[in-house]
């Protein structure tokens, strides 16, 4: 290298090879170094021109430029040699050399300009500061604070160094970007499976509204206002926000508009007392109020509500545990007249029987009542419901003991106009209740008597035989069976919904039944299933069936179901271990049939019912 110090202006044509090498980031100058060294070592016929003339002549412009570049770089190297160079600097220069060489390799016809540019660039690089060694002080690029350089100091976007906090921030940003960029495909698949389990996924693309709503929900914190959205869309959005647990005070504001008639928040757990005030202040004309998980709602919120909202008809408050009895009294006193719907769940501490009686007195126009999991309401409260003259829909789940006579009384007084009756977990209700239903109910469309181990099959059969009530559309008798660990088959006279009851029920309501739930009615025998779902009988309205844990069900029953229910959308069959090798027709979601290798839910694609059954028969045969 010292040999070049004299400014040996070697000029010669640049060969095609040099061009090619330069294009591949191989430095022509470096090869020249080696060549020079070799030349010095061997005997001396140093006619550079001779060496150069071995190569075929090339366009002179490129040559000059290239040579000039090579020279400049050599000079630079030399001068750098003089100083005590840091390693990174040398690397930087190597990089520049290669970049320049490749640039020159690509440029075909450049004249003086290129030289100037190069000069300028190279000069700039020479003046660029070297990275300070660890232990030295440096100013942070972003915040200009002085800090000590360590081997771990991060580099900023412009090439300078960053102090530790700025470095950490930068690293976090980069990590975020990376995470956002690398979208894990696994999450999408899980979402798809979850949708199918809910029974809403169909073949094909999602509706556009669905896609938009999902997108909006994903970016919920960037939305400022919802604009002119129609009510059902607002409701759907609020449901999704609640589900994702992002219904916070900030997002709540999106859903409060003065012109709305309904305020629906399915998850108010994050809302603080002030937010309730805001709800009532912003939407004074509300007719329907739905607040689930409203644990932080206190007396003064209700007070404010009574002051502002005079049109309330429908109150649905789940878990409003901080509201006192006195406040409930006041509520019924002030708006009891107008109240048509009241739904209360999860009241642990307040709302005694006498409050129920008061409510019944003050709210004569109640049409829908839903009382579930209210710990203090007991038999007397239930008895009070009997005096609600306009009651059409009643739904009860009471944890304390309620004697059957009270229930029978209730049914006999109100039964004739009841359209919905749901009695969950009345474990000791016996056949007299069913008789009362048989004798009194004439307008029922939805009936649920679940989690009961006293009523007998004979009782159910009697209920559905010669019943003057028109066919039901919704039936739920889940978990009506005998619970005896010593005798899993149950007694001779079956308890709960069993074979004859089931047959009678389907005979009565089959034509209009939409939703059938007989989960855990394990005393229903295979014969009954085969009789009901025999393929010849058709249940045109049936869309949703749940036969989980009816362990007599087998594959032929499932095939029969597919045949008999042309509009079936969802069949839930957990715990039916005799069901195997099912081929699911299109538009039907089969959930819960266990096969270790397959998905827990099977979704029918593109096969008609007959073909599916045909294949199943083949497999079975």
């Amino acid at each position: 290298m010292s040999g070049r110090r004299g400014g040996n202006r070697i000029r010669g044509p640049q060969s095609a090879l040099t061009d090619f090498l330069a294009a591949n980031n191989i430095s022509a100058a470096q090869i020249r170094d080696d060549y020079e060294r070799r030349r010095r070592q061997s005997a001396e016929q140093d006619d550079a021109g001779e060496g150069a003339s071995d190569q075929p002549p090339q366009p002179p412009q490129a040559t000059d430029a290239a040579l000039a570049a090579a020279h400049e770089l050599e000079e630079e190297e030399v001068s750098k040699n003089k100083k005590k160079r840091k390693r990174s600097e040398k690397d930087a220069i190597e990089k520049i050399k290669k970049a320049k060489a490749s640039k020159k390799g690509k440029k075909k016809s450049k004249k003086d300009d290129s030289d100037d540019d190069e000069d300028y660039d190279v000069a700039q690089d020479m003046y660029r500061k070297a990275r300070p060694a660890p232990g030295q002080f440096e100013h942070c690029e972003i915040c200009s604070k002085r800090f000590t350089v360590t081997p771990y100091s991060k580099e900023g976007p412009d090439g300078g160094l960053l102090c530790t906090p700025c470095g950490k921030d930068l690293a976090k940003e980069l990590k975020h970007e990376k995470k956002a960029a690398a979208k894990p495909g696994g999450r999408k698949r899980r979402k798809l499976e979850s949708d199918r389990l809910d029974g809403i996924a169909r073949g094909g693309a999602k509706p556009l509204q669905q896609l938009c709503i999902e997108k909006v929900a994903k970016h919920h914190d960037e939305i400022e206002e919802l604009g002119d959205m129609p009510q059902p869309v607002v409701e759907r959005l609020s449901e999704i926000f609640s589900k994702k647990r992002v219904m916070k005070p900030k997002t709540l504001r999106l859903f409060l508009r003065p012109d709305l008639e309904d305020v629906i928040v399915h998850d108010s757990a994050y809302l603080e007392p002030d937010d309730y005030h805001q709800i009532f202040a912003t939407v004074p004309n509300m007719k329907r109020l739905v607040l689930a998980n409203c644990c932080q709602m206190k007396d003064d919120a209700i007070d404010y509500m009574l002051e502002r909202c005079h049109k309330l008809r429908h109150i649905h408050l789940y878990a409003a545990n901080l509201v006192s009895n006195g406040m409930w009294h006041r509520l019924f006193r002030e708006i009891g007249e107008r109240l048509e719907v009241i739904k209360l769940k999860w009241l642990d501490d307040s709302f005694e029987d006498f409050v129920v009686e008061d409510m019944v007195r003050q709210c004569p126009n109640l049409q829908r009542v839903k009382f579930k999991l209210c710990r203090r309401v007991g038999a007397e409260g239930v008895a009070a419901f009997a005096s609600l003259a306009k009651l059409q829909h009643l739904s009860l789940q009471i944890s304390s003991e309620v004697p059957t006579s009270v229930l029978c009384d209730l049914v006999s007084q109100r039964g004739s106009q009841l359209r919905t009756l749901s009695l969950e977990k009345f474990i000791d209700a016996d056949d007299t209740l069913l008789e009362a239903l048989h004798d009194n109910c004439r307008e029922l469309t939805k009936l649920r008597v679940s989690e009961n181990d006293t009523a007998t099959d004979a009782g159910f059969t009697a209920l559905f035989t010669n019943w003057q009530n028109p066919p039901l559309t919704f039936v739920d008798f889940n978990s009506t069976r005998d619970v005896d660990n010593n005798n899993s088959e149950g007694p001779e006279d079956a308890i709960g919904m069993a074979s004859s009851g089931f047959k009678a029920m389907m005979a009565h309501s089959g034509p209009e039944l939409k939703h059938l739930d007989i989960a855990s009615c394990r005393h229903i025998q295979l014969g009954a299933f085969m009789d009901v779902f025999n393929g010849a009988q058709s249940y045109p309205a049936l869309e949703h069936i749940n036969i989980s844990f009816c362990n007599r069900v087998d594959t032929s029953v499932v095939a029969g179901i597919f045949k008999s229910c042309p509009n079936l959308k969802k069949l839930v069959a957990f715990g039916c271990f005799d069901v195997q090798d099912v081929v699911v027709p299109r538009h039907i979601a089969l959930i819960g049939v266990p096969r270790a290798q397959e998905a827990i839910e099977q979704f029918g694609v593109g096969i008609g019912v007959d073909e599916a059954i045909g294949r199943m028969v083949e497999v079975a045969a």
Partner: protein, 112 residues
């Protein structure tokens, strides 16, 4: 009168026209009814739907809607469909438009 062309035109509120297949456009019940001669709207004659009065159906929004039509047709019977990409800024407006087009329609002109 009702010449059943294969392609129909949708005109947005800011005067952008989109020519799409009839089968794709009729995915929207609103558009289908507008084009159906049985209902006697002017649109059925010209095979063009004008959304000039409806603010929610701007050009960019209508473009995405047309893209959705084809996306839906393409994945009609498929499982595991990849979601169509919707730019965030557009999502609210697109939601409004989707809601409008999915429902019933009020005629711009009625034929007697």
């Amino acid at each position: 009168m009702a010449n059943d062309t294969e392609y129909v035109t949708l005109v947005s509120s800011d005067d952008f026209s989109f020519v799409v297949q009839r089968s794709a456009a009729c995915l929207s019940p609103a558009i289908r009814r507008m084009l159906d001669p049985a209902y006697g709207f002017a649109e059925s004659r010209t095979n063009t739907c004008h959304f000039e009065n409806i603010k929610s159906v701007a050009g960019i929004v209508l473009e995405k809607v047309c893209e959705y039509f084809y996306y839906n047709e393409k994945y009609k019977d498929a499982k595991d469909v990849p979601d169509m990409d919707i730019p965030t800024e557009l999502s609210l407006e697109l939601l409004l438009a989707a809601d409008y087009l999915d429902g019933t329609v009020s005629p711009s002109e009625a034929l007697n």
